[in-house]
Amino acid sequence: MFYIHQSSCISPQQTFHDVDLNKLHEPADRKLLAIEPRYDGIPPGILRRMGKAVRMGVGAAMPLLQNNPTSDGIIVATVNGGKEDCVKFMNQIIDYNEGLLTPINFVQSTPNAVAAQIGLLTKNHGYNITHSQLGLAFEYAMIDAGMMINENPLSSFLLGAVDDISLFNYNIEEKSGCHKMETISNKNLYTTNSPGHIAGEAASMFLVNGNETGAIVKVQAVETLHTTDESIMKEKLFGFIKKYLPAGEKMDVLLTGENGDNRLLKYYSCCESLMDNDVTIARFKHMCGEYPTATSMGLWLCCDILQKQTIPEHMIKKAAVKTGYKNVLIYNNYNSIQHSFILVSIT
């Protein structure tokens, strides 16, 4: 599909400057909040007016675009981007009884504010789009990038995703029973055996094109599925591996989006059952919590694992004796019904 040349991530872990994944940062007030940098690349006057998702998305994107100003477009996935401003504007409507309102929150209330701001700040007139299909938004953004590069083999794109925890989406998710009732450390996320996850947030950005030279990894394939039936999911995943894993090669790592919600365990068990014994199984949602576009953080970690040929101890669910990692499968389930399979290989 495409090659990743650079990546950038602002998350609850030390992923932005001086990456250190061995130390695990813990949730505060039941949320895994991103460690935000100083955002040196964004003019202060503009930064002040940005909602958190826009700020994180632009902040993660800028280092990549400053090095590569010729990018042909910006492909972003976000579900909660803009919701903070959206509810702030609703707040104005209620508080001032539909009176004289200031439009800044309204203008930033749509998810396309992230991609738009990146385009605006980097004067990028190319393709600019925002995907918002909940737990598959990032996958459809990846497919978009893959199609664009296939249509124009010399093109390159900024591809990424961001979702933030605003007080507002947090409250709505809390009432929907998304979060764990008990307060836990992320170290114990996978042993709680209870419904719900820990809310999280992050922005992950990638510079992608069709050029193998100098690339970190190749994204071989992405497929999506809407179903609650694990047997359909299993059949589809089996077909995916058979179709896309290069002939004669083996899967080395399964990186799953297991999130501590015992209602979803059956899907992850099903996926693991398809793996041979010598596949290392790793997880990442204890690092970034759950949010709709979390597979983008999974992909960022995948780049790191394949580059460094090592997986932080706290991520490993089942270790296998291996001499090197070449092929990684990312499997994610969002809210039972949305599944994605992503195959990433070292170049």
Binding site: G73, V79, C86, V87, F89, M90, N91, I93, I94, N97, E98, G99, L100, L101, T102, P103, F106, V107, Q108, S109, T110, P111, N112, A113, A115, A116, Q117, G119, L120, T122, K123, N124, H125, G126, Y127, N128, I129, T130, H131, S132, Q133, L134, L136, A137, Y140, I143, D144, M147, N150, E151, L167, F168, N169, N171, I172, K175, S176, T224, H226, I337
Partner: protein, 395 residues
């Protein structure tokens, strides 16, 4: 390259509940702008809107969709998609096949429930039946489940150009082999949220909007939904083909969060690249369905961009004078109108125009007529500089 063709249409708007009703209204030059009646707002008497005069209760009953948590946006979408699927003769088996994709677009989504969403977002209130209804993807999730859609299901939000991008994405899924057919469209309903938002920007007119008129005073908001069924020509066999989707492009103005650049760089590039993708010259475009919101900024900039692109600007109008600006649904509703232009070989009466903009002097098309049409361009521009153009061609 195999052509992408349109084999089914569905639409609901302030000027009709079906494709046939919309066509009659367009032929008669009907204006669907009226007083807001479906929910209370301080602005009901001041700011006219393009409202569909069917209550949520009546829609639920007509569509047999009694589920709690369903929003007006989803009801309008279901109404339009039912028509499009029946028109294209797609079976249940077609829908659940892994080759059928759904690409929707919305920029209001569940925010039509402005008061409910606000209450649910507060800490110590009990949750309403709409907790899962506020996301932009809620409608596509509902439709995926309703029709057991087996292929890719995506939702795009690029503000007012959303559904033009959904149409593009669906066509590209087919071209790339990821889908055999794509049901593509957009849906948005009126909301206290958007009325107050656009009002805060001072771009809502207290009168009927007058696209491309020198004395235009702003836009009227509208609501509606539309869907197109896209297929590869070789797969269509004996079905009716309305038109082909022959070109498309998405570009960014990269100028300002809520207004277009003086030179219309984004609109110009979207139109120019759409022509290149269709392998057409500007002179081959017979008609432009303009974005034409009726705001000071849009109509002037869109005119400038058209003057830059076309040696002689072709006939153009904005149907937003009929329907109001339906935001995320606009690109899809207007795509249906363009396809009707081509299928029926006719141009519809343009409304509410008196004097041309002094600096650009462009006069929109006025009176209904039958005329040969081969290629039509449709523009959709949105906040964030998101500009998209589509080109439809005669079947």
């Amino acid at each position: 390259m195999n052509r992408i063709v349109v084999t089914g249409l569905g639409v609901i708007s302030a000027i009709g509940n079906s494709v046939a009703e919309n066509r009659v209204s367009l032929m008669e030059g009907k204006c669907g702008i009226s007083r807001l009646e479906m929910f209370p707002s301080k602005f009901s008497d001041v700011l006219p809107v393009g409202e569909i005069k069917i209550s949520n209760e009546a829609l639920k009953e007509k569509l047999k969709a009694p589920e709690p948590g369903i929003t007006r946006t989803t009801l309008l979408a279901l109404h339009a998609i039912n028509e499009a699927l029946a028109d294209s003769g797609l079976s249940n088996a077609d829908m659940s096949s892994s080759g059928t994709a759904l690409v929707g677009a919305s920029t209001v989504g569940g925010m039509c429930l402005t008061d409910e969403m606000y209450m649910d977002s507060q800490k110590d209130t009990p949750g309403s039946e709409y907790l899962a209804s506020y996301d932009f993807a809620t409608t596509c999730m509902y439709l995926q489940n309703y029709f057991s859609i087996g292929g890719p299901v995506n939702t795009i939000n690029t503000a007012c150009s959303s559904s033009a991008n959904a149409i593009m994405y669906g066509a590209r899924l087919i071209r790339s082999g990821r889908a055999r057919r794509a049901i593509v469209g957009g849906f948005d309903s009126l909301a206290k949220f958007t009325i107050n938002g656009f009002n805060a920007l001072h771009i809502l007119s207290t009168e009927h909007c007058t696209p491309f008129d020198e004395d235009r005073k702003g836009l009227n908001l509208g609501e509606g939904a539309a869907f197109l069924v896209l297929e590869k020509e070789e797969d269509v066999r004996d079905k009716k083909i309305y038109a082909s989707l022959s070109g498309y492009s998405n570009a960014n103005d990269a100028f300002h969060a809520s207004s277009l650049s003086d030179n219309g760089d984004g609109p110009f590039r979207a139109m120019k690249d759409a022509l290149a993708s269709a392998k057409l010259n500007p002179s081959q475009i017979d008609f432009v369905n303009a974005h034409g919101t009726g705001t000071e900024n849009n109509d002037k900039v869109e005119s400038i961009a058209m003057l830059r692109l076309f040696e002689k600007v072709p006939a153009f109008t904005s149907t937003k004078a009929n329907t109001g600006h339906t935001l995320g649904a606009a690109g899809a509703i207007e795509a249906v109108y363009c396809i009707l232009n081509l299928a029926e070989q006719e141009l519809y009466t343009g409304l509410h125009f008196t004097n041309p903009i002094a600096t650009t002097k462009l006069v929109p098309f006025q009176l209904y007529k039958k005329t040969p049409l081969t290629h039509i361009m449709s523009n959709s521009f949105g906040f964030g500089g998101n500009c998209s153009s589509l080109i439809f061609s005669k079947a």
